[in-house]
Symmetry: C2
Subunit: 433 residues, 2 copies
């Protein structure tokens, strides 16, 4: 009987859909896995806009990563910021924590919003990537109505109740639609001095149509739905300026206290760490097996990767892509470590795309067939419920949480404010020693 | 038929138990009511420690005030900070919002924690009064374990996993007990490099016993329960210093990354606004009908008031006191406005007091009889459930929230970060005009 092989060290950066899928696929591999994320939770991003619009609580769409992976004996979860990676020495450098040596590295760091070189706009426009972003948007949305109720100045009220969403992709459409519902129904009867239904919701898209990834016939429905919700759609106009009081859309000035940026994204700086080739969105260009050319031991998956989908196009930044790539790379490494044949090139299985416009309007494109209206909304709900169940039985979790008051359950283990929380000085110093 | 009397203007400051009870008792009165609070939500404070210890989400114990009062046609809710009150001109001055003239003023501003003149300790010790406080404590508690997992330094791990609760009142005991449970059970199996069960939880009380308001026989039980939970209780020792690394307890130095202050409270500065007589805790001394001597049109209720309970003692700062006083003052004003005889002096009906020590230990003192253990815990749960139901059918709300994912309900309309959120400059300037 041969002596057991030494265990390999695998470092996974990012606890999103990609990183989690990789951990799961690696279960049982002869390896010690370290999963690093700057937050302590796995976030169900597709529903983040509902936290931003006060429909859901953070605990409803996020769960402590280490609680999800409790039973993964050989997986260590670290909450830390990755500063850089040394591909030659095979070491990941963490901020304020010891280095992580690795045999295999999986980069699943995702993407961030980009202001197309106008970083000064970030002061005045909210983005929606993290729980902290969502809570900050929620605070601004709700504060706008509160301040309008008390300020007693018509111009200010108009400015406070003008909400501009920049970017006509699925997130932008979801945000605009839900803000419209917040104003027209949820808050409609709660104020004495203002009429929340008079709020102006503007969705602006520099391109010629919103939801441009969908076929035209669905877009007509989407346009009608947005119109029905009272969302003002501006097409073919770029944002030229954003300041504290509003924005310049084309040549038109819009006074708005609330600007939400759902436009361009770019991959997080993993490519810089490796000196690897990056695509236009700074995504790491990968080989057909998701590895980084020249580094068969390093893989990039999900939004941080730029995977050639043929005709020079890259795979879109969608949750299913990240999940499938994470699962693929996990299986590949498990096979490689066991000395078994590795799977062939990664192939993305497109399960269709959906977008929801407010409470009961949605569109779904399953390639072979499409859906609109209630059937599409039903499909959207079921798919998202299945996705939730997929990474943990969330229906059950939901009921558990509803009884947390009686059972002292722990549904809310999230550090939504971790970005604001500074480490004590003594911890920072010594960690660098 | 006589011409209708002019409607009176009533301003209520504070949307806690006292202020809300007053609004409800005033329903149907011939008056326009304005309820001012610095937050947008009514908070169920008795369960705040469970948010701080990640057992519950903010949305579970707080609800948008204006949603609760939606059906109160003549009540306007304002989210604003009160700067001062002009008792002679009968005007309340708001920060960044127009003045509020009143015929009757009800002060229900509550109390804040006091560091006994050592305000510099506030930088290093967390207090627990608001949702923001609770989230900040939660972040610190959970971060401590995360940082310990990754720092790899035994001294630091010990310091990170030492939690000191200052103050042996009900809140301090609840915090210490729940932190102990968090470490010994909830988090026990989630870490690879540390053993959360090794956490050190210290409860220190300057007096000779914890929960001193309770009869001795209950205290023996409480002491045993704390001991069983592994909470280290220090009596008869005052805190002499708190810094970033820990605290000085008597002459003993304790290295601790987490210090939670549940010791002294003092009334918010309403007395200063009025130049009224204040008690030692800065509470507004009130007449037997809760009015402020010399100002029959001004009332002070709840923690901000100092109501003589005989033998020079004031009524304790408990939710039932605030509720009963709010209800009393509401009925009194309703009668006065209607020209009917006013109720006699306020009398506090003591329904008993309870304290919970961890998940399944509690003590209850109902005067005629006392409870410990599971019966007391059951009583505690039922009473708090009833109190929740009292201000809104929270059981139902709970189930609603559990299905928010499907129904797009709005259970989470809270500005937990409002304290951090600055108003836009243009709004601040103009409001002062």
């Amino acid at each position: 009987m041969p002596s057991p092989l030494p265990r390999k060290r695998i470092v996974i950066v990012g606890a999103g859909f990609g990183g989690m899928a990789a951990v799961k696929a690696l279960k049982g591999a002869n390896a010690d896995i370290t999963l690093v994320d700057r937050t302590n939770h796995h976030l169900f991003q597709p529903l983040l806009y509902q936290v931003a619009t006060a429909a859901l609580s953070p605990a409803d769409i996020a769960t402590a990563t280490r609680a999800l992976l409790r039973r993964y004996k050989h997986t260590t979860v670290l909450m830390a910021e990755v500063e850089s990676a040394d591909a030659d020495r095979r070491i990941v450098h963490l901020a304020d924590a010891p280095d992580l040596p690795y045999d295999y590295l999986i980069l699943a760091t995702g993407a961030a919003y980009s202001f197309f070189g106008h970083d000064e706009w970030a002061k005045h426009a909210q983005v929606l990537k993290t729980l902290t972003d969502a809570l900050s948007i929620r605070e601004r949305l709700l504060s706008a109505f509160e301040w309008a109720e008390e300020c007693g100045n018509p111009d200010m009220i108009r400015r406070l109740l003008t909400f501009v969403v920049v970017g006509g992709g699925p997130t932008g459409v979801e945000m605009a639609g839900t803000i419209a519902e917040l104003a027209r129904s949820t808050l409609a009867w709660d104020f004495k001095n203002i009429d929340p239904r008079s709020a102006r919701i503007v969705l602006c898209e520099a391109g010629s149509r919103v939801l441009s990834a969908f076929p035209q016939k669905l877009l007509d429905y989407a346009a009608a739905a947005l119109n029905k919700l009272g969302v003002e759609v501006h097409l073919n106009e770029a944002v030229n300026e954003i300041d504290a009081n509003g924005l310049l859309l084309g040549e038109t000035r819009i006074e708005a206290a609330n600007v939400i940026w759902c436009a361009g994204t770019e991959a997080r700086p993993a490519a810089d760490w490796l000196g690897a080739n990056a695509a236009r969105n700074r995504g790491v260009k990968t080989a057909p097996n998701c590895s980084v050319p020249g580094h068969p031991e390093i893989f990039a998956i999900g939004d941080v990767a730029s995977f050639d989908a043929g005709e020079g196009a890259a795979l879109p930044g969608l949750a299913p892509v990240a999940k499938q790539q994470g699962d693929y790379v996990g299986r590949l490494l498990k096979a490689r470590i066991a000395g078994q044949p590795e799977p062939g090139a990664f192939r993305y299985k497109d399960l269709g795309t959906m977008a929801i416009i407010g409470r009961s309007h949605a569109i779904a494109d399953f390639g072979r067939f499409t859906l609109t209206g209630f059937p599409a909304w039903l499909a959207w709900s079921l798919v998202h419920l299945m996705l939730l169940v997929d990474f943990r039985s969330r229906v059950v979790v939901y009921v558990n949480w509803s009884w947390a008051f009686f059972t002292y359950g722990r549904g809310a283990r999230l550090l939504t404010g971790v970005a604001r929380l500074k480490r004590p000085q003594w911890l920072r110093i010594s960690a660098q020693e």
